[in-house]
Assembly symmetry: C2
């Protein structure tokens, strides 16, 4: 089964929000072996909506549409959908009661505005996807053997409806073709060296097994995809690749490096602590964003001011005076200080000039020192990123995790 996703709303086109909904839907459908072949973001005009529905329904079996179901005027979606299917809008009594109930809970002494009442309008004869967590109902429409789902764009409402209304429906559909994915997360080899190292395995892949490279800062993710049945199953090639890449393999499934770190540290009863200056909490939030992080993370310090670096982390006044906050000596003292403070086995420290301000001829924007301290030693690296603030922070975080992983693997093999 092939699917397409259509997102409605100027906010994505204007770049005011990033379309994370579609990525999430893509993941969910992929798990059900439904291939998303196109994602289309369009404006909330009748013409754009009709055209997109028309084109998508010619290419795909399942069309999932998000957005354009809010209570305010800028939404013409429902009228357009109704006309597209040659239907009227009708007010759904159950949805109206639900919307009224939610409204009364929030504002018991006010009368519900008409725009909210209109949220209970749905396309005639559609299957209402009841929205327990918000006011905008979803709609499911089957038309000429094609399935259409219309969902609100608010991420947690969309996720609720996909999880509880749409996926159960799709799981019952027997026509799904088998697709199997296998992943390897590798570290320490650039994309082209990696490609050369595994060229013979890649060349031996059968027609229906495809290898894709997804390079990220400091690591490369490999994805093997088997479409349909295969005489030699995808697991065979997966194992070959894992064996060939040896200690470059961080994980043999599709996890982030943060997940790999949290799992490995929790398994080995190790604790990590962080002392962040230029990354300002991003390393800690990357780790604590992973479920189960509390087993291996107790404490992170965002030491933005030198006073905090001294008082909390024990960075020496002389160090800051002689070398400055962005220096190898400072990150070493930060890393060792927080490790001690938190009673951890490993620690990460960062100090740098994220930009756009704060650069000097000596230490231009993008100058970043990272220290990783472990059981046996403290290692440092100096980076010269040349990007904007957000990317400098992101790359520092990625490099810090890569350094930590390398030390962890190294210590483990000792």
């Amino acid at each position: 089964m092939n699917a397409e996703i259509i997102t409605i709303g100027d906010e994505i086109l204007l770049g005011q929000i990033v379309d994370s909904n579609s990525a999430w839907i893509g993941q969910q459908l992929n798990l059900l072996n439904i291939r998303v072949q196109q994602i289309t973001s369009i404006s909330d005009t009748a013409e754009a909506i009709s055209n997109a529905l028309n084109l998508a329904s010619k290419r795909a079996d399942l069309i999932i549409v998000t957005g354009g179901l809010g209570p305010t005027k800028d939404d013409v979606t429902k009228q357009t959908i109704a006309s597209y299917f040659g239907k009227k809008l009708v007010r759904d009594a159950k949805v109206l009661a639900h919307v009224q109930g939610l409204f009364t809970r929030i504002a018991p002494d006010k009368i519900m505005p008409k725009v909210n009442q209109a949220q209970a309008d749905v396309v005639e004869d559609c299957e209402v996807l009841f929205n327990d967590v918000g006011t905008a109902p979803g709609m499911w429409i089957t038309d000429k053997d094609k399935y259409f789902a219309f969902l609100p764009g608010v991420p947690f409402e969309m996720k609720f409806l996909v999880t509880n209304r749409i996926l159960p429906k799709l799981k019952e559909n027997a026509s799904l073709q088998l697709v199997e994915h296998r992943h390897i997360i590798s570290i320490g080899l650039g994309e082209s060296f990696l490609a050369e190292k595994i060229a013979d395995i890649e060349n031996s892949l059968p027609e229906n097994i495809k290898l894709a490279y997804l390079p990220k800062v400091g690591l490369v993710r490999l994805r093997l995809s088997q479409i349909g049945e295969s005489d030699v199953p995808v697991d065979f090639y997966h194992q070959q690749l894992v064996k060939r890449l040896g200690h470059h393999v961080v994980a043999t499934k599709d996890v982030s490096i943060e997940q790999a770190i949290v799992e490995a540290f929790a398994n080995d009863n190790l604790k990590l602590a962080t002392a962040e200056s230029c990354t300002g909490g991003s390393i800690a939030s990357g780790i604590t964003g992973i479920s189960g992080a509390s087993a291996m993370f107790d404490c992170g310090i965002v030491a933005y001011h030198n006073r905090i670096k001294q008082n909390l982390l024990g960075v020496k006044e002389e160090t800051l005076k002689e070398f400055g906050a962005v220096s190898e000596k400072t990150v070493i003292e930060m890393a060792e200080g927080v490790k001690k403070l938190a009673g951890a086995n490993y620690s990460i420290a960062t100090s740098g000039i994220a930009g756009p301000g704060g650069g000097t001829p000596d230490k231009p924007v993008g100058t970043v020192w990272i220290a990783v301290s472990g059981k046996y030693e403290t290692k440092t690296k100096l980076f010269h990123f040349r990007n904007d603030r957000a990317i400098n922070i992101e790359r520092t975080v990625a490099q810090a995790f890569a350094m930590l992983w390398n030390m962890y693997v190294n210590d483990k093999s000792n």
Copy 2:
């Protein structure tokens, strides 16, 4: 001028990465009054690429394509582009020298793989968009009065080429139609109440000025867009809305609440500190992600373990024993403790059960206490989110910023 963006690569369709490139390009084009009318994400197959180019070129004047220019096999983009325009691929000497130079810098003792050499191949007669920061060159092609730009998908390379190669080109184009946007960030009013409160202003808008609502957790962003000339300019309506919304207005330009907080605190010489448990550094990284944060932020503590809450923040053992870590008393002591520790004027503290583990019948997943401590008082709120870990964290962060903003505005008017 109308534009479309096409992103190539299975990673977006599979949901393995979120398409943040398109949002960024949308923002840049919008500043030049170029309207992005569609964003299309497709697979890296010749058929999908040809079809997308064909459809987009019928609708838009400018087509920006990202992705599919990496050095490895899964990329058929360049061959397909060349055929689409009826051209051949030719190897560019200047690009080849650049790719070789970059390679030698990284691996001076190795011979460059063939896949890297092929990165210097470009479509015959195209204008090469020289890529100073990476190996994949961009290409600019004019065909039947339509402009096509092909860019690598690596975000910082794409951004480099857009900023330094494409925007300068577009700025010279005289045919651009005038579009003006004005924004209001409002807090404390739900979307429908807001709509009712400003209904008469909205109804008085001329045809060519459009009002859009973008609700986010805890706030609503309003956008007025004027297309072409207007007798009554958009600023008039913007001022009317600002006046009507009064103290609900956080900002009169398109900024995030983090930006508004950093600017306001820096202007007023105020310092903020954070003590985070369930948000794990996300509040600190939200603040420090804003350029200039160092003027108002010195210190953040991620106190994941109770020991850290006690030792660093001064949370009392009795408090933790009697009420638990997720309690009003704990977040009050965390907020007041970090304020004192950091010597700050305001502080935020969070403690909750982000999930998916850790819930109890008494305190289910999504139970979150937030405290905000200011010049005169400490205020708390209890939330019952019912989402997954990432969203629970995101919503906690958003609510914490909203609480902080409200206290700041309240204190200021006192």
